[in-house]
């Protein structure tokens, strides 16, 4: 198994499109790394450059300490699982999985053993004689994965492998892939636009936008310590609330202030916000950190806002309240026992310890 | 729907009345271009001067040597829908196909009634007759046994006398070959030109009487002359242009015209072809009868006959009477570049070559051409084409002889 290192990698297509800009990060041995971002952000291009399916315009790519920029895909010892599986339609499942091994001149017995072993792991042993078109989507997915694991490569590359599956199957495959990762002890690079997949599976998440890496970190990091407004808004459902506000100095410290909004900033953040006093900032708070005052049991002070409920969406385990707050909107994920209804006024408590502040110009996180 | 049906009936009535009641004359031919068409139209014009009320329908079908026209005609005859009169090569092409099955009316009595029966050579009347009855009237005559040559090359080679024997012919060809010329141009892509050459060799080997006898059941095909003909053909092969099987007869004629080849054996339509290329007969090109055949005239003739159940029989008879006249024949032939079938034509209307041909026509034996449909049925012609086509490559005389015997047997000719 191996480490993958990207150093200042650029991808510029012949038509001038700059798909990946100066990407640098390291995927450690046995790490499950997810490249996450909206479509067109350059994540798949990055993955394909690691595979050798796209030429690297600038920069250096190392696998296992060796520069592989000019190495053919077949010589990089990687396996690639495609979004639409890319099974060879004219071959049986067995032959699909054995194809790479045959090409590498493995002995017949070993091929047989590896294929059967992988088929057992993936629970497709009974499908080995079928052709791809006789399989369901989930089964094809497993074959595609099987084709990768029989090879026992240094690095597995997954390109949105679950996006063609229905929701239920996706959840199931998600956990299976995670289990497989532990079982194989493999280095995996996994591309997705689904932040839930990223959060649930990744050891490390690389978030990209417009070809630029926004943040690299653990799921914990990107959720709790987003580096900028984009990451903060991309991770989490529903997304973080952003309110335009000002930092003002007042009664016993610093306050976040906007129309219908005046909440106290916890002491530990004050130092970082000194320079923003009386300036416009973006105030961010996640819906799950907002509570209905009428049923909230914890202690709190100076953190209540009052707004009008536009829409109430009961989801069972919680209820989403869309609240108007002086011309701005706020979504709160509150306990389902709430009595707030559309058109009524509601008092909400903001957990200010979880607050975020972003510079209005640079959109970088201040807190 | 009702209106549609009535409309249809109305159209049918109009159309059928036009066809049935009108004073028409439908003439079927394959003369659709060049001097042939011009000559035909000149005939029509003259005919209409005599019979202004007859509306001539020119049912001409294009296609080289009438191949398409013949197929159309067969279909019409099979379907019981004959034209009033149609063009056909003299002899077996008419006899075998239409006379024997009983589709034609004999014309002997009419010819006698019009007083023209003895205006045609006896040999000609024989060729157009079956069991003593004449079935078609020849309007023009072409000669098949002619060698055309390039006079400039002839002179350059120091030749002065036109060959009359094969020995002289071979000597001349040898001279031409040594000087880098093609001695004898041939273009047998369409096969028939080779048979055309061969029937002239046969004529020279058998002589006119025995040659005719082959088809009368008087002379056997299994004669030494047959083998001699093949031997002579084989001796000619080295003198052909090597690309002969890629060429047509016009291409071969062009080789002579362009000064690349000395001789070409072809029917005298080649004379017309040379003239259209701008050559003057007797100045730029000369001609002589194929060696050993100066006492014979290989007869190729277009004729018109009278099918039974012709829709406008009276008009057809008027047409036949007209084309048998000296006037009609002298209108048509100078334009087409052929000579009249009548021996009393006006020689002043014809050029130097045609005059030569007319003189011979009146004096020497007239014999029917195989390849041009006068002597033998089409089935025999195709077999002979095939045999010679093979022979030219294989040069196997005994096989070729055997194949010719089989083809002759098929037609009931003597092969004893």
């Amino acid at each position: 198994m191996a480490q993958v290192v990207l150093e200042n990698i650029d991808k510029i297509y012949p038509n001038g499109f700059h798909a990946v800009k100066n990407a640098s990060f390291t995927i450690e041995d046995k790490e499950f790394c997810v490249l996450l971002g909206p479509s067109g952000c350059g994540k798949t291009t990055t993955l394909r450059m690691i595979a050798g399916l796209e030429e690297i315009s600038k920069g250096t790519l190392k696998i296992d300490g060796k520069v592989v920029n000019d190495v053919e895909p077949k010589d990089r010892d990687i396996a690639f699982v495609f979004q639409n599986y890319a099974l060879y339609p004219h071959m049986t499942v067995y032959d699909n999985m054995a194809f790479g091994l045959k090409l590498r001149k493995f002995p017949k017995e070993e091929i047989d053993q590896r294929v059967k072993n992988a088929a057992k792991i993936l629970d497709i042993a009974h499908l080995l004689d079928r052709k791809p078109k006789q399989l369901s989507g989930g089964q094809r997915q497993r074959v595609a994965v099987g084709r990768a694991i029989v090879r026992d490569p240094k690095v597995f590359l997954f390109d949105e492998p679950l996006s063609n599956l229905d929701a239920k199957l996706r959840v199931q495959m998600r956990s299976e892939l995670k289990k497989l990762h532990h079982r194989l002890d493999a280095t995996i690079v996994y591309v997705t636009h689904d932040q839930v997949e990223a959060m649930t599976m990744a050891d490390k998440i690389v978030i990209m936008k417009d070809g630029v890496i926004q943040q690299i970190g653990s799921p914990y990091d990107v959720y709790f310590k987003p580096k900028n407004k984009f990451v903060a808004g991309f991770i989490g459902t529903p997304p973080m609330n952003f309110l335009e506000a000002k930092v003002v100095k007042g009664d016993g410290g610093l306050w976040i202030s906007a129309e219908d909004l005046k909440v106290k900033i916890p002491k530990e953040f004050e130092e970082k916000l000194e320079s923003y006093i009386d300036k416009d900032i973006i105030f961010g708070i996640r819906p799950e950190n907002i509570h209905d005052k009428s049923i909230y049991k914890g202690e709190h002070t100076n953190d209540v806002v009052k707004g009008k409920v536009d829409v109430a969406e009961p989801l069972g385990s919680e209820t989403l309240l869309h609240v108007t707050l002086g011309g701005q909107y706020l979504v709160a994920k509150v306990d389902p026992t709430t009595t707030a209804r559309e058109g009524t006024e509601v008092e909400l408590i903001l957990e200010m310890e979880t607050m975020h502040v972003f510079d209005k110009e640079t959109e970088l996180a201040v807190i | 729907m009702k209106r549609f049906v009535f409309g249809l009936i109305a159209i049918l009535l109009v159309v059928s009345s036009v066809f049935a009641a009108s004073n028409d004359l439908e003439i079927f031919s394959w003369w659709t271009g060049g001097g042939e068409e011009e000559g035909l139209l000149a005939l029509f014009a003259k005919f209409n001067q005599y019979y202004p009320n007859i509306n001539i329908i020119n049912a001409a079908v294009a296609g080289g040597a009438g191949t398409n026209a013949k197929a159309v005609l067969k279909t019409r005859m099979l379907g019981g829908n004959p034209p009033d009169s149609f063009q056909v090569h003299a002899g077996m092409e008419l006899t075998d196909t239409y006379v024997i099955p009983g589709l034609m009316e004999p014309l002997t009595n009419y010819l006698k009634e019009w007083g023209v029966y003895d205006k045609f050579p006896k040999d000609v009347m024989k060729i157009v007759s079956y069991q003593g009855e004449v079935y078609s009237i020849p309007v023009n005559v072409h000669r098949g046994n002619v060698v055309f040559y390039n006079k400039k090359i002839f002179k350059k080679l120091g030749l002065t006398k036109e060959p009359t024997t094969w020995a002289e012919f071979f000597a001349a060809m040898k001279k031409a070959q040594e000087a880098g010329y093609i001695p004898l141009a041939l273009g047998d892509k369409n096969k028939w030109t080779l048979t055309h050459l061969f029937e002239n060799i046969m004529l020279s080997m058998f002589g006119p009487e025995d040659y005719k006898g082959l088809f009368d059941g008087k002379v056997s095909f299994n004669s030494p002359e047959m083998e001699l003909s093949l031997v002579l053909l084989e001796r000619l092969i080295p003198y052909f242009n090597r690309d002969h099987s890629a060429l047509t007869w016009q291409d071969a004629g062009r080789l002579v015209f362009e000064g690349k080849a000395l001789f070409n054996v072809m029917g005298d339509w080649e004379e017309g072809y040379f003239k259209t290329l701008g050559w003057k007969p007797g100045e730029d090109f000369g001609w002589f009868a194929v060696p050993g055949t100066s006492d014979a005239f290989m007869f190729i003739s277009d004729t018109f006959g009278l099918p039974k159940n012709a829709p406008h029989r009276e008009n057809a008879l008027k047409w036949l009477k007209f084309i048998a006249t000296k006037e009609a024949q002298d209108i048509f032939n100078p334009i087409k570049g052929s000579i009249p079938a009548r021996i009393d034509a006006d020689k002043s209307k014809y050029d130097v070559y045609l005059t030569w041909s007319m003189n011979d026509f009146a004096t020497v034996a007239v014999v029917p051409s195989i390849i041009h449909g006068s002597a033998a049925p089409e089935g025999f012609v195709t077999s002979l084409n095939d045999t010679l086509n093979r022979f030219l490559v294989k040069k196997n005389i005994s096989n070729a002889l055997r194949d010719i015997m089989w083809a002759a047997e098929d037609q009931g000719y003597l092969t004893e």
Binding site: F82, F99 | K74, K191, E378, T382, D386, V393
Partner: protein, 309 residues
């Protein structure tokens, strides 16, 4: 229910005219040809009299014993073989070249496809000029003239007027095969191009990652996936070549010693030149059977495929 019934009756009425016409002009004529091939109608007068005399397989026996027809069968075999190999090979090669996206591929695609729009008669005439040997070496024509200008006199040859052969393969056919391949390979290229474009890029990438080089991908991935197209191409070419008439008739005729003769030309000459209708019909029936041998399995398999999907 009654709407359904009306609909199907309406449909039947609409196709009835074409059913009748096909019935008469295709199947009845085939039947009539077969019937004729067992008759003694080998002259115009016997046909005209219309008295049918059954002669069994006599016409077939005569045809098969005829050396010209034997040559025709060999010619058809070799022509078909090399014509299909050449068209498929060249078509595939061009399709791959264009699929790789060389500069101006769109232009070349149309250029190669263009010959298909020309009739075989025109192709035959033009190529008969190109391959006309002339009286080389002194007075060559066409290609031989080009060779002379290039100082390559050694390459001058008789082309389609050659009567040489290797075994039963008449070398004169080479020129005809080249002309036929020229005409049809663009069409085959278009078929393959459509097939290649339909192969998902991911499958090829998967193979590349799996360790296959381009040649291996071509033979083990692309070719198997193009198999239905290869089959269709062979059917199209096969029935063209078994029935070929116009190209050869215009280009070479039968050639010396029938080196470029084919059954269709012989059939035409027997039927329409020699009035041997029964023997001509026998050749037609043999040709029909030859075409049926390749078409019927294809129809069968495509019908079955249609039912199963």
């Amino acid at each position: 229910m009654s709407v359904q019934k009306n609909k199907s009756r309406m449909g039947f009425i609409i196709i009835l005219p074409s059913l009748i016409l096909i019935g008469i002009f295709v199947y009845y004529f085939i039947f009539w040809t077969i019937r004729t091939s067992f008759s003694n109608w080998n002259s115009f007068s016997s046909l005209l009299r219309g008295v049918y005399k059954y002669v069994g397989f006599r016409n077939y026996e005569r045809i098969f014993m005829d050396p010209r027809f034997q040559t025709d069968l060999w010619n058809t075999l070799f022509f078909t073989l090399f014509f299909i190999l050449g068209s498929v090979g060249l078509g595939l090669f061009l399709a791959n070249l264009i699929d790789k996206g060389i500069k101006g591929s769109r232009f070349f695609q149309n250029l190669f496809l263009f010959p298909m729009a020309i009739s075989f008669v025109v192709t035959g005439t033009v190529w008969s000029w190109i391959f006309a040997p002339g009286n080389f070496p002194n007075d060559p024509q066409g290609l031989n003239l080009l060779f002379k200008k290039l100082g390559l006199e050694k390459l001058q040859w008789m082309w389609y007027t050659s009567s040489e052969s290797i075994g039963h393969f008449n070398l004169a056919l080479i020129a005809v095969i080249i002309a036929a391949v020229w005409q049809m390979s663009g069409y085959i290229m278009a078929m393959y191009l459509a097939g290649l474009k339909a192969i998902p890029e991911e499958i090829l990438e998967a193979a590349r990652v799996d360790g296959a080089n381009e040649r291996y991908i071509f033979w083990k991935i692309k070719m198997p996936l193009l198999k239905p197209i290869t089959l269709s191409a062979m059917i199209v070419l096969g029935h063209v070549s078994l029935k070929i008439f116009d190209l050869i008739y215009a280009m070479t005729g039968s050639g010396p010693n029938n080196v470029t003769d084919v059954p269709a030309i012989y059939m035409f000459e027997l039927t329409f030149r020699s009035n041997k209708y029964a023997m001509g019909s026998a050749i037609s029936v043999i040709m029909l059977l030859m075409v049926a041998v390749i078409i019927i399995p294809y129809l069968y398999s495509s019908l079955r495929r249609g039912v199963s999907s």
